[in-house]
Symmetry: C2
Subunit: 474 residues, 2 copies
């Protein structure tokens, strides 16, 4: 259900540098155009994606599909040099009965010296021999050891499949001991949640290592065998090879540190970010106010602010907010150091409850938060620190957040997600009484002290006209 590009973004994190992929699902819908799309899209993928050309589209004469790949199409595609093999020959009777059209496809693949994949559940005896003699060299449908051994005996390579539904590793794993040269791993029909939560080929490597099989046997199956079998242009760390490799934290849990493809680091586990600040405590935000209180006054749609002073009738040992007069706390926290938060007051936001915070603020992208209570402001800031950046809204116990893990200012998700979350956060703030048309935008300018008149920064409130920091009690 993912494009090649999106697929590559999930599996590179699992240490996959290359895959052999069969575009036969989309070929059944769109024919040649579907295959061309897959190849074009894969050019923008993070990993190397190799394709085999489908041999059985449509799957059967009974099928009412949208596309058809003839033997001439197979030939045309093979001429492009974009394929490493012929996809699973599911039409076993076609091979056994010498179906002319099917045999032409196989012939084309042989002519280009390409691997021919099989799909022959339960095939054995003479039929199996005939199937193999046609040039078919792999099978990924073995569910039992005996079946796999007969196929290996007949000269086939066995792809041990472990997807979200069909799971054959447990029954076939003992082959690793004596047959590591004849095995490969595959993960057909893995759902995206399985790729994210359980893993890709790494999940098989990890299990095999935990099961006590020889490390080098397991890695040969995972890495070298497919490269050699399909003749892939993927490096094997020999002199002159393309530099395709993975750096793991260790060889048991297989935590990936970074992935290089063709000598270029394509993925790196270290988040591309900088967050050195520590969690804040509610009491860090406490401020005594007496007589008068200096406020940043914001106007909707303007990045210029005014300085405004409110009179305070009685001393408050911690002035959290005055919802009636729309006086809220604003907090600045340097995210590149472990320093105390700076606290000021702001008028014009209109929030009736809750708090919001952002790690997007001009120009240094430190943390800015505004809220009605110290508890909610602290929650907002601490959530930001925990997630290393983003936009967050706190409404008593409820939290809504868009993480921005890249530098605390960029999402790693698609544009539709970001647009949707942006509107969602806006709407929530409107429901909480916020009167600004773009609250996070306004917030992001509150630390830009080179714009008049009153802003908040490293040493508290900054007064532009005198070009100096002032205390909010002055």
């Amino acid at each position: 259900m993912l494009t090649p590009v999106e697929f590559s973004r999930l599996v590179i994190k699992r240490g996959t540098v290359a895959v052999v992929s069969d575009p036969h699902e989309i070929a059944n819908v769109l024919g040649k155009r579907g295959i061309e799309f897959m190849i074009a899209d894969s050019r923008n993928a993070l990993i190397k994606i190799f394709f085999t050309i489908p041999s059985c589209v449509p799957a059967t004469p009974f099928d009412c599909s949208g596309g058809c790949i003839t033997s001439d199409d197979v030939h045309d595609f093979l001429k492009t040099g974009n394929f490493v093999g012929l996809s699973e020959v599911m039409n076993v009777p076609g091979v056994l009965n010498g179906d002319a059209e099917l045999m032409r496809k196989i012939e084309h693949a042989r002519q280009y010296h390409l691997a021919i994949d099989g799909h022959a559940p339960g095939l054995s005896g003479e039929d199996l021999q005939k199937y193999v003699q046609a040039g078919i060299s792999t099978d990924h449908e073995c569910t039992e050891l005996k079946e796999a051994l007969e196929k290996i005996g007949a000269g086939m390579k066995i792809l041990v499949r472990e997807g979200s539904a069909a799971r054959n590793y447990e029954n076939l794993k003992s082959l690793i001991v004596e047959h590591s040269k004849e095995l490969m791993f595959c993960t057909d029909d893995s759902h995206p949640d399985e790729l994210i939560e359980v893993g890709h080929i790494d999940k098989l490597v990890k299990r095999a290592i935990k099961d006590g099989f020889d490390l080098f046997d397991v890695w040969r199956i995972a890495c070298m065998n497919p490269i050699k079998h399909y003749g892939l242009n993927v490096g094997m760390l020999r002199e002159g090879d393309p530099a395709d490799f993975v750096i793991f934290e260790d060889l048991e849990d297989l935590t990936v540190k970074s992935v290089y493809i063709g000598g270029v680091e394509k993925w790196d586990a270290d988040s591309l970010n900088k967050f050195e600040c520590k969690e804040i405590h509610i009491q860090d935000l406490s401020r005594m106010v007496q007589k008068e209180l200096i406020c940043i006054e914001v106007a909707d749609g303007e990045i210029v602010t005014q300085k405004r002073t409110f009179s305070i009738q009685e001393t408050r040992f911690n002035f959290e907010s005055d919802i009636q007069r729309d006086i809220l706390k604003i907090v600045y926290l340097n995210r590149y150091a472990d320093k105390p938060p700076q606290v000021g007051y702001i008028h014009g936001v209109g929030l009736q409850r809750g708090a919001f915070a952002s790690s997007v603020s001009h120009d240094s992208h430190n943390i800015i938060a505004v809220g009605c209570s110290d508890e909610e402001i602290a929650s907002a800031i601490n959530r930001l620190i925990a997630e290393k950046g983003g936009l967050v809204v706190i409404d008593s116990a409820e939290q809504e957040m868009m993480p921005l893990p890249i530098a605390g200012i960029i999402s790693d998700r698609d544009g539709y997600y970001v647009a949707g979350m942006w509107k969602r956060l806006m709407n929530r703030l409107v429901n909480m009484g916020c009167r600004l048309s773009s609250p996070f935008m306004t917030l992001s300018f509150m630390a830009l002290i080179v714009i008049p008149e009153l802003k908040i920064g490293e040493e508290g409130l900054f007064e532009y006209s005198n070009f100096r920091f002032i205390s909010s009690k002055e």
Copy 2:
């Protein structure tokens, strides 16, 4: 808030083939590493992304930023040949007072004959002359006509900015008449929802054309001026140029048909899909049943089914379902033609209410639906047809859907969205009583008639052991 790749996916749909981008936000957080990330990521973008090198990181001496770009860094970056200019010189006093470090950055850019961008709100008179003499040739901060005219007079190009917050087109548009050679368009700080719903540079072109300005003046501003000013390697449809161009439906609404970059079609408005079937009516699903009813019996986790017969006590003119005995309707609809739906019955799904449908089904990916009522089954199928494919769950008035717009089997969203929606649809079906651990997976095998025993296809139920279609009444 988007990576260059995700940004490119949004704006290519709007006919943008190239952008000049300033990576100074991420440079403020991560310094050189941030700039390197932007360049590396942009290599996988759909459009051409050119970068200028930030001149003012950190923005001011008061800023506590995470990164710093020195004049030596600027020089090192310029040597790579990856930059088309020096980013906005915001430090106007630095230019006027001849700040040594800043002047070195400007000198480096001049040495490489690169454009130097300005940022000088309100600057005029002698100061403006001095700023321009330093080699700074653009300004995107003009809000008034008079200011823009003075800057044009001083030799600057004016970037007419229309973002989500700052909007200067209305005030500056009259410049188009006499100064189309001195203008460019820009869209700083456009939020993703604005890019999706309103547009990118196309929104400015459209407005200018609607406002009656000369078509060729407007297109010169949008296309040729930036290429010439920054010396971009973007084609202008001259012989020998790279084939970068957009095909529009018309030159007023600017509906994009397709976008070519370097001669390769990188985006195409025609959905990569095939859906020829028409909406179905509830009465198409009506089936009379008497005496006995033949059912597909599914077992969780198996793609093999059984044929099972239930006795029916009284004739029903439309047998919708029997929740007690877990007999539900299953419907097959060929999506590549306008044919009536095929109706059968299924046992083992367990649904207590509602319906679900999918355009992912082996091997031809026709539509399969299962449900408790004809109304909900029809809703599910018709929603699929309306969206041209995906997975859908109907629970009385509520609909939950994951669209799969690419061939009806692939999402155009990121892997986390697809994984999230997949689980969400699963959970909803569990709440509706479904007993299958992977209901859409099971559904997808119900049209694979080459697997025993009873499946549904083009002419109704298909019995594998006799290898023929049967009517459900037989």
